[in-house]
């Protein structure tokens, strides 16, 4: 399931990242590595992008990009 399907307040674990190139680099740099736990904090008022908590900091991601992150809900 994609990260964009996780509801606010739930925690998920990264299974696989399907992004390539620049996005992959950027995601890796920001700490989106396999096995990491991500908490979905909230969606933006217009439902996109979403705010996430990862490695104890907050980050925002568009849903189109969150879709590329395969996760398992915990």
């Amino acid at each position: 399931m994609g990260l964009d399907d996780i509801q606010s307040g739930y925690i998920a674990k990264i299974v696989k990242i399907n992004a390539t190139g620049k996005l992959l680099h950027k995601l890796l740099d920001m700490g989106f590595v396999k096995g990491t736990h991500i908490e979905v904090i909230r969606e933006a008022p217009l439902y996109d992008p979403m705010e996430l908590k990862i490695h104890n900091y907050y980050i925002s991601l568009r849903k189109s990009e969150a879709k590329l992150i395969e996760v398992a809900q915990l």
Binding site: L23, L28, A44, I59, L61
Partner: protein, 817 residues
Amino acid sequence: MLSGIYQHIANYPGVTVDKKSGRFSYKALDIEMVDLPGTYSFSSYSLEERVAKEFILNERPDIIINVVDASNLKRNLYLTFQLLEIGIPVIVVLNMMDVAKRRGIDINTQEIQKMLKCPVIETSGAKAEGKNELLETIYALSNELKYHEFKLNYDILEPYIEHLQKKITVQNENLSQRWLSIKTLEEDETILSRLSFLTPNIKEIAQQSKEAFENTYNKDTTSFFASTRYESADIICHKCVKENKKNHLTVTDIADKYILNRWLALPILFLIIFAIYQLSIVLGYKITDYTWPILAAFKNLVIDILPQANFTEVPLITDFGVWMVNSANALLNYIPIFLILFALIAILEDVGYMPRMAFILDRVFKKFGLHGQSTLPLVLGGAFVGGCAVPGIMSTKGIPDDRARLATILSVPYMNCLAKVPFYTLLLGAFFSANMALMMFFISTVTIFIALIVAKLLTSSVLKNRETAPFVMELPPYHLPTFKGVVIRAFERVWLYIKKVVTIVLAVAVILFALLQFPGLSSEKQQYFEQESNAILQDFDKKMKDNSYYSLIDSKEKVASLLNYYDEYRSKRMLTSSKEGAQKVDDAFTARNQEFFLFIKPKTNKDARIINKELRNLSSQRNKILREIKNEKIENSLLGMMGRSMEPLTLYAGFDWKINVAFLSSFAARESAVATLGSIYENNKADNQRAEEAMALNSGYTPLHAVAMIIFMVLTPPCIATMIVVKIQTNSYKWMLFAIFFPITLGIVAAISIFQLGTTHALNGIEAMTLFYAAVVLLTLIVGLFPSKRINWTGGIEPKTNGLYSKYIQSQKKEKK
């Protein structure tokens, strides 16, 4: 903090893209410190990273100081590991220890130091703690630079790194060879192109190793590197960091519950933007009422120095001097606005609201090819009644997505410029006095739609292949801004504006002056004006013959100097409103010439009163001739010729050459459009007739003409100041020229269409404007609903999409298939 240079760390990733440096000495050791742009990593391809990486490669610093946010250690250590691998000694500075302590984060610095085998120092930037310790460490390191290579064990990837390391030929590189080979495996473009001088086929070799690894272990190299580094960072965090308040909500958590709340976020955002607008544009405009007299005094000072007019013969140098001062003043007048605006932006940046603003509005802007971070530039450009494109464009710097950034730069100038407002007021006052509010609403809101349409148009055409960046943005914790930081940055940016914009605008003002002055009056016209002025003088002379003061004004020179005295007194007197001020001016003028002063304030002296009355008359007659000369000059000038030559086209939009000239001169600064139009339509009784009335009566225009003019003005090219900033921000003259000619074309096409439609369908002004408005809104909706591609970035490692490298990869992929 350390080097004495002012280093600002804004709470907004990507604010400092440039590097700043400073020199100082410590214990007879000369140290040059360079502040590099902040970055999250050393392997992806943002502008900041490129700047930082290239600096380290080219300048070879002796020591790298890695300033780490102690309250967010894990992610920061990820970068630390990458820096340690470079092969240059690293000092880790744990900054913001105060914040970390407040959050209940205990850090065992000694333990980190032991594990990383590099000096680790605790500081808290806001309180300047730990400064001496850092200096002492730098000093110690420079005396005994005995450096042991740092190696992070990449496990199954090691054989591939070693293999590559052997293939790389380097010359005089004191950088770690291991690091270079790791970077080639990561396909780092900067390193690859550097190594390819000595190892031409390095890209192929690296690609082969990478593929060999990926095929053997079914793992992605890039992800593998990242995971190893994160795991290592994790180990350090586990051993050295204790979080005591792990599940407590921080201030940021609580604040964001409201600030980013689904229902409250937009109203709060709107309130903040409205407050910025009120404080900077509205309040700032009021402050200019107080600062304007300073500029006016400066103008008077210059006029005092310049040679005086001999009745209607004004020396060229005087004309030139006044023109230059006027041009400079028009821009300097906005400094209070900019100062407030820049200070407020600095506060927003420091607090950490900017990324949140982007978070809230990204969805809307994404639809038009822009970025959440385009909000502020567009607001500053004039989302309400008026703004200024200059600070708007300047604030696009932090947008990470190159395409969205360029689109923002090119669409901000469409927003409602504050200096256009007087022009609109003039036209609305003349032709739409009954529907002024409605028209103003149309004008101020239509610009937002136009900017969005233009952005969409550009991003799906000329900007289509520009580099884009994924929207992966940190939402940093809130911070209290420091007063000093905010003030210094506001002044820094204002100074930048003065330095870069005002100087170039003045240069262009010289050119415009020449275009307006030459070739000048024909000899017949010159004779005609001479006769005119002589006639007035003779008339004056005749009336004065019997006056007891005749001896004081019996020659042209004497009259001219009295007239200058009179005009000067009036302009100085106008600047003071207080009684004491007025007395001061009176005293000064009495001291200068007691007899002349009598004519200005004749009191009960009968003869002097007659002179006073005639003097006033003479002054207005002289001004009339001067105005006629000016108009004649404009008409004959190069700019006038340009205006005329455009008439065949612009007449379709209803513009005659006079309007063309007004638009052309408005290029220098918007204010001059009003001034030019005003002076063209002022008649000799202008004293008691306002410019609006004069225009409505004397121009022969209909409201439809006015609508065409307004539409053109709405779309019209940005002023020179804006062009300069476009040049600075895009670093390209090409885009600057594009930003000039694209809007002109758009403007003339729109103006012609509406004017022609209006003429053929006999629409009145309001109807034509409503039609235009409806068309724009409709277009915005269509464009906005137009499906945007889901994945909106291209390229990857290669900055240029058509580079050899990407072709190589493609050919490799084909072969594999």
